[in-house]
């Protein structure tokens, strides 16, 4: 184990995968000479050369489409889209081509494509550059969508994505790049589609992912200080969604809150809440609550931006309300 940043874990994993498999190559805007807008690809052009680290013009649909073609013919492209917001320019290539080619053409070709892209608000990048639109992709059969919360998962899930034969969206988070954590040494590949109970507890389940998983852990710590045992489930994968792990936790705790950075309506929390009522209805002692972003385009103003994003304080309040609704003594 070595402690490193989320950013470093992504960088090291990309490098390791390129060393491991000659078919792996990188493509994206400013990833070569400029070493990436967030420096994930620092040093890789120098090490692997322009054939395997390809700077692309500002043309998301073009280079994602090129990557889909490369993937169909046997390469393993890892595309960086500068932020999740810009993936909208390539959504037709992702949703209508990458996700469907395997099914539409009788399995003649797979699309082992990875799209890495950071989402998330809180950086004062304003409404168009601060979105959490991962559900657009999580909605789509044929895609896999992972959202690592820790440096260890950044390594394990990115490695798994590169080695998977289907298109995988790796949704990173601007707010996490500088976070630090222990990362397993050597070849570490996580399993796609598995959530993780990152803290065990008995009284209430908090389900989240990406940045929200860290907030959930922080709140679980505060609840612990009050004598409340919270269990935290980090989804890690939005598609496939690990429904059994979610339901098993709620059956144990009988209460659930979902924390999500996306908007409430039609969001990840809606899917998780539906999953819980389908799989653990008779075990629920209170309605599943959701803590999500305010349903507005994210403001630029720092105080307004902070107010619009779901906070630890909001999660703590809703957790308390859920416990109170069931007569939990505190």
């Amino acid at each position: 184990m070595a402690e490193m940043t989320y950013r470093q874990a992504l960088h090291d994993t990309l490098r390791a995968e390129m060393l491991r498999d000659e078919a792996v190559f990188l493509m994206g805007e400013e990833i070569g000479v400029f070493e990436g807008s967030y420096k994930i690809t620092a040093g890789l052009l120098a090490e692997f050369g322009p054939r395997r680290v390809r700077d692309a013009p500002i043309s998301e649909e073009g280079f994602v489409g090129a990557a889909v073609g490369a993937a169909m013919l046997g390469l393993r492209p890892v595309v960086e889209i500068m932020t999740l917001n810009f993936s909208l320019l390539a959504i037709d290539q992702i949703v209508n081509h990458a996700a469907k080619i395997h099914a539409m053409f009788g399995g003649q070709a797979s699309v082992p494509l990875v799209v890495r892209t950071p989402g998330g608000g809180g950086q004062q990048l304003a409404a168009t550059h601060s979105q959490n639109i991962e559900v657009y992709y999580a909605h789509m059969p044929g895609l896999k969508v992972v959202a690592p919360a820790t440096p260890a998962d950044a390594k394990g899930l990115l490695a798994a994505a590169v080695r998977d034969d289907d298109p995988v969206m790796v949704v990173e988070n601007l707010a996490l790049y500088n976070t630090r954590g222990e990362v397993p040494d050597g070849d570490y590949v996580a399993e796609l589609g598995r959530a993780k109970v990152v803290k065990e507890g008995t009284d209430i389940t908090v389900v989240s992912y990406s940045r929200g998983a860290l907030v959930a852990l922080e709140v679980a710590g505060r609840l612990e200080a009050e004598g409340i045992s919270a269990e935290v489930v980090d989804l890690r994968s939005l598609r496939p969604l690990d429904r059994p792990t979610i339901c098993a936790s709620v059956r144990k705790t009988t209460r659930a809150v979902v924390l999500e950075d996306d908007w409430l309506s039609y969001g990840v929390g809606a899917e998780v809440a539906a999953t819980i009522q389908e799989g653990a209805f008779g075990y629920l002692d209170a309605p599943v609550r959701r803590v999500a972003a305010a349903e507005v385009p994210l403001p630029y103003s720092k105080p307004l931006e902070s107010a619009a994003l779901p906070s630890a304080a909001a999660l703590l309040k809703v957790a308390h309300e859920t416990l109170d609704a069931t007569g939990f003594p505190r």
Partner: protein, 429 residues
């Protein structure tokens, strides 16, 4: 996928209990196949399938009580997949299909969807309080009626803590009141029913109520609120018993022997036809006179009391009345009565003569206006033409809904019945 709903199997039915599932998930089902036996407030009846397909899921376990109209099973085109939906398709691993679906037991949702029959005035069931799914699960598991549990959650929602407190209070002592909880105030719990008897712990064994017992109790409480009076007459049963002996001798060894009760059913039917005011029901703002004479006979079964009905008893010969009454009583004891067997009664006879009871009053069988209680045929000294002789007497007590009927009318009915029983050969013509 068509849902199989809890059917309305009788006009007073609000909920049914799954007595037994005869089909199981994965079984092919054709229209008319018997899916389950449903215990209603009156009888156990077969639930038949309307749709062809494969039984996919059972939504109610055996023993579960489900309001009418609520889904209890799902019939689909294909074998059960164990999943709630098509799940994620394409290249994703199947291990991530939504397999977490539990076999969901039905929630004891509030009654109320049931529409009342035109004449059936029904006992208002206490509105079930809002409750969490977990509270309902626990209540069902412990046989606790949530109607009597006060919820401490938002909007009075009954939550797990309330159910656990109620179960604990019930186990500890039925008289345990508020203060049972250490820190939180315990919800007010009335075990069993409001104003229920206070029995010290260990003094009584608790017997869970069958549907029939509960419905019987509700209907009798309803009946007790009806203003009523009783009239008793003494009948010389000599001629009646002679006739019965003669008829049975004529029938020889054939099984359908005629009983005193059968003779009374036929006699009451004849007299009811002549007294439509007794064959009636109080309708609140009107009197309803039944067009048919359908005589019910109370039959004791292990779970309680059922009243199978001989329809149009005034129109049928004595032998047919007797044959039908015996068949009904037998099927009542087996719990095999069908809806028609227990519906439509316009008058009821309760006979405890076989237990040596000489005289008793019966409780009205709502909404009927009258019920006849029949005692034992007993040899007694009576005065006949100025001489004391021994005669076999029978005491008949008519209990009457005073709203529908006055004393004189009821007395006339009883007098006519008595005179018919003194001259019972008229029952044969």
């Amino acid at each position: 996928m068509p849902d199989v709903l809890m059917p309305r199997l009788s006009d007073t039915m609000e909920e049914g209990t799954i007595a037994r599932w005869l089909k199981h998930p994965g079984d092919a089902v054709q229209p008319g196949d018997v899916l389950a036996e449903i215990q209603t407030d009156k009888a156990t009846m077969d639930l038949e399938a309307y749709d062809a397909g494969v039984l996919q899921r059972l939504l109610a376990e055996e023993g579960a009580t489900v309001p009418i109209g609520q889904p209890i099973a799902v019939i689909g085109a294909e074998p059960a997949a164990g999943a709630t939906g098509p799940g994620d398709s394409g290249p994703e691993p199947t291990a991530t299909e939504p397999t977490a679906t539990e076999p969901s037991a039905p929630a004891a949702s509030p009654p109320g969807a049931a529409a009342a029959g035109p004449t059936a005035s029904r006992v208002p069931v206490p509105a079930a309080p809002p409750s969490s799914p977990l509270a309902r699960t626990l209540a069902r598991r412990h046989g606790l009626d949530l109607s009597w549990v006060t919820g401490s959650g938002p909007g009075g929602r009954v939550v797990r803590a309330d159910v656990e407190a109620a179960i604990a209070a019930r186990a500890a002592s039925p008289v345990a009141g508020p203060g049972a909880g250490a820190e939180r105030p315990a919800p007010a719990v009335v075990p069993g029913a409001p104003g229920g008897p206070q029995v010290a712990a260990g003094e009584a064994e608790e017997v869970p109520l069958s549907t029939l017992r509960r419905i019987t109790a509700e209907r009798l409480e309803q009946s007790a609120r009806v203003p009523h009076f009783d009239l008793t007459t003494v009948v010389d049963a000599g001629a009646l018993l002679s006739l019965r002996a003669e008829v049975n001798r004529a029938l020889g060894g054939r099984p359908a022997r005629v009983s005193v009760t059968d003779l009374l059913v036929k006699a009451c039917a004849e007299v009811l036809r002549a007294h439509p005011e007794v064959n009636s029901v109080w309708g609140g703002d009107k009197l309803l006179r039944y067009r048919h004479v359908n005589v019910g006979v109370a039959v004791a079964v292990p779970e309680g009391l059922v009243v199978p009905v001989v329809h149009d008893a005034d129109q049928k010969p004595l032998r047919q009345v007797a044959a039908e009454a015996h068949d009904l009583a037998e099927r009542a004891r087996q719990g095999k009565l069908a809806l028609d067997d227990i519906s439509g009664g316009t008058f009821t006879i309760s006979n405890l003569g076989m237990y040596g009871i000489s005289h008793f009053t019966a409780v009205l069988n709502p909404p009927q206006a009258a019920i006849l209680a029949v005692g034992a045929a007993t040899p007694e000294p009576v005065v006949k033409d100025g001489v004391v002789v021994v005669a076999t007497t029978l005491r008949l007590t008519l209990t009457v809904d005073h709203r529908a009927l006055d004393g004189a009318s009821a007395a006339q009915f009883l007098a006519d019945l008595r005179s018919l029983l003194h001259d019972p050969v008229r029952l044969l013509v």
